[in-house]
Assembly symmetry: C2
Homo-oligomer: 192 residues x 2
């Protein structure tokens, strides 16, 4: 998606360790107008999929999921990273390893908001090794819901998450796929 690639080129900051910082528009400060265009693009790529639920994980996916839910005309739900005191006891739970934060999270979603009748589109801001997506897919599976596919803002094409997910036969639509960031030079994989 050219609009997103252009923003990554102009505002993205490449840090050591293959980290791309896009916090000026994606995951700290948020450009909701850009999110709207991204949501429309996912709607186009998942046309006819009859999505009934958008699933994401806190925190960076929430804004995208919320705007996309308006486009798809459904509810969004975000998986929570720990069971807080006022969290429903009746939850689906899984574990997700965050390499960025260097820890394992217990991730839960209430059974009331993910059911066997749901057709779920999973959305998230980044895809690298795929741990977050696999965890969310596990929650969808536990609910007996139908996974329509996954939408990602920025996929790190040089890590193996995308290949793993696609090899499972899952429809994965990343709006920008980074081919390389070597020497701070960002190149994208053809993807439209």
């Amino acid at each position: 998606m050219k609009l997103l690639e252009d923003r990554i080129r102009t505002e993205g900051i490449v840090k050591s360790g293959n980290i791309l910082r896009v916090d000026s528009f994606l995951n700290h400060q948020m450009d909701a107008a850009l999110f709207r265009e991204m949501a429309k693009e996912w709607k186009r790529r998942f046309a006819g999929a009859e999505v009934t639920k958008i699933l994401t994980i806190e925190a960076s996916g929430i804004g995208l999921a919320c705007i996309a839910a308006e486009e798809f005309g459904c509810r969004a739900v975000f998986a929570k990273k720990t069971a807080g005191n006022n969290m429903d006891a009746d939850v689906y739970a899984t574990k997700i390893t965050s390499f960025t934060k260097g820890r394992v999270y217990d991730v839960v979603v209430s059974k009331r908001f993910l059911t066997k009748d749901d057709r779920v589109l999973i959305l998230d801001d980044f895809l690298a090794n795929g741990c977050a997506l696999l965890g969310l897919m596990d929650l969808v599976n536990q609910a007996g819901a139908t996974l329509v596919g996954c939408g990602i803002a920025i996929e790190k094409g040089f890590q193996d998450g995308g290949r793993k997910i696609r090899d499972m036969g899952v429809k994965l639509e990343s709006l920008a796929i980074l081919e390389s960031m070597e020497g701070g030079m960002i190149t994208f994989r053809e993807n439209d």
Copy 2:
């Protein structure tokens, strides 16, 4: 705001310890269409305020902030609860006590996204004792930005956060103010 009060009445679940669970539409599952109406109401109540930035805190405020940012035609930024490995070192920081989770968080926002030229509207889902709002106000103050006011979805009118904030001369617009939840019976304070 009648639309929100009606949803609280029909879907809210009162738990012991004055906890109101509204996770079917506000802070776990999210009804973006409702968020849109709430954002329009904040826009009405802050008409002419020339808001340049919406500030919230992860995670529950993010969806509201994102939709509201579209209504106000500005960017949203969410304060982060800890400084992750790929967080900008150059941050404003404060501490916020969460009574729901029973812990103190270090909360940060990048100095790049909150400046002295910003006119900031703080948004959040709940207001009880006011700790989160006071922390976010501290971040606005550190940035030398102008605080336009605070917008809250649900204020617990029987706790003292609202009074504290209003006594400071801050324009605080809560879309629903709970007067009481005694015996599981929800009553609202007049507020339009």
